[in-house]
């Protein structure tokens, strides 16, 4: 005879089993076409590269990883740091950091502006920021190209004002990639900033002014600490895709201003060094995961500290 308790327990077990069955399609699809391939790629990074791309399946070596950081001279076998790779890695990290800071500089006032509009106007302003965000990244990059080209808006305007005689070359420089990334990722900064600014209790700001604080002091001592979670979230949301950017540097930077994403692509195209490409991809993923971990740690601490 089953007791009431046992019947209830059986019902809970059945419920959990059903919930696993329901999750199977999503879990299987993601395992096969997203997570699983990452492990295969890890395996490939330890294989011998094939002569015309691909790998010699089943033959293992550390060359892929070795080549991420070092080059071996063909003539005398001396080792040197792989300057090309390291400079591209450095460019990826520094451009992503500058992009993050720039989007914060422009995004902060923009989010603040939206958050201080009357309630009924806010949705509209948010919608205005969201539309470029949902526009295909390729279209936005292409639009940026029209601004930066030698015959583009910037150069035409400067020439019309007789500030310059011959166009300034912006395309295919680090500047073009930077402008493009700031443009493409700005909404990713504004949205989380707005989410935390919306919740600001302006009585605190008022209290600050009552105590003779200047506007700058109010901004620095009251507003910025209150929206810190939004600043961190926005920075992470901008930094991570910038680091893995592929389309923007490819179109605006070309071969002259490559980033990590383009270097990875190169190994699967002309470079024909799949193990190196796999190792570079894993390096990128590790850096991104570290950035995410920093965010998670900060977010949980910030949540506890400020209540």
């Amino acid at each position: 005879m089953a007791t009431a308790g046992e019947i209830a327990l059986a019902a809970v077990k059945r419920d959990i089993r059903n919930r696993w069955l329901l999750s199977v399609p999503a879990l299987v699809i993601i395992a096969l076409a997203a997570i699983g391939p990452l492990f295969v790629m890890l395996l490939y990074s330890f294989m011998v590269k094939g002569d015309y791309g691909d790998v010699k399946f089943g033959q293992f070596s550390f060359d892929g990883w070795f080549n991420v950081f070092f080059t071996r001279d063909i003539f005398d076998d001396t080792l040197t740091f792989a300057d090309a790779h390291l400079s591209i890695l450095w460019r990826s990290i520094s451009l992503s950091l500058i992009t993050t800071v720039t989007t914060l500089f422009f995004g902060f006032p923009t989010a603040y502006f939206i958050a201080t509009r009357p309630q009924h106007q806010r949705d509209t302003w948010l919608f205005v920021v969201t539309i470029p965000f949902w526009t295909n990244i390729l279209i936005r990059t292409f639009a940026m190209q029209e601004v930066l080209r030698n015959e583009g808006i910037i150069n035409s305007a400067l020439r019309a004002m007789h500030i310059i005689d011959s166009p300034i070359q912006i395309m295919f420089t680090n500047w073009a990639v930077l402008f493009g990334m700031v443009y493409v990722y700005l909404p990713l900064m504004v949205l989380p900033l707005y989410a935390s600014m919306e919740k600001i209790d302006f009585r605190l700001v008022e209290a600050g002014y009552d105590l003779y604080a200047t506007r700058l002091q109010v901004l620095r001592r009251i507003i910025i600490p209150l929206v810190k979670p939004g600043i961190i979230a926005g920075s992470i949301l901008v930094f991570i895709p910038s680091l893995g950017a592929y389309v923007t540097p490819r179109v605006l930077g070309g071969g002259k201003s490559m980033m990590l994403g383009n270097l990875i692509e190169l190994q699967f195209g002309q470079g024909r060094d799949w193990p190196l490409g796999a190792a570079l991809s894993i390096t990128l993923m590790v850096v991104v995961t570290l950035a995410l971990l920093v965010y998670v740690r900060n977010a949980s601490r910030g949540g506890g500290g400020h209540g």
Partner: protein, 266 residues
Amino acid sequence: MAKSFSVRSQPGFVFVALLCFFLLYLPIATLVFYAFNAGVSVAVWEGFSLRWFQSAMNNSEVQEATLRSVFIAVTAAFLSTIAATMAALATTRTPDYPGLTFKYAFINQPLMVPEIVTAVALLIVFSRIKVWTGYSGIGYLLAAHTAFCIPFAYLPIRARLENMDLTLERAAADLYATPWNTFKRVTLPLLWPGILAGFMLAFVISLDDVVITEFVKSGGQETLPTYMLGQLRRVVTPEINAISTVFLAISILFVTIFFFLNRKKV
């Protein structure tokens, strides 16, 4: 003070904000403007014309790429929405159970990895499968798109479910409705706006994808975005502007519908 003092304002903020809105739309506006150019240049205005829209419409490569894009997006959105709906039903409105956190992490994983990394990993695996099976059809693109669309479809469906309590379902069960009938007559109609929003989000995400498609596609499987990426290497004519403009209009339409679907509360 002569002027009324506003505690909310900060010096220069309004200026920077308005500048930002202007700069966000200036490039897009230019792009759209030159789509209507009568001349062949994307920088010199020669009068209004719709010729580039016509030439894009008559371009057989564009037609094929568009059809393929839409086919992939509809299929991937359909499959991922079904999988995501089931997964959302399995992970909401329940006390914590073993494996729940694991499922969240697993389903959201495609959002955590840079697209280029997933793209390269898929290239590696699919090219190996191509060698083994000899199959090089559109199935690879469908599989890849379905996988990365799942977390996007999952988001609005889960949000909708979390706002629905179990009262109505319990009432149905009390009235001797079978679990299937309860789902069909109570849960599904209530959940429908979330499912629709999830489908549309997945559709837009799939339609927009450049990076993963670029690496996974076999020869002759251009989608509209990869076709455009290829064109950007050559001399650009306003035809690309015209395609972009139509693309843009469709995206805006979808975002607007999504915006209104999501705003209505239960």
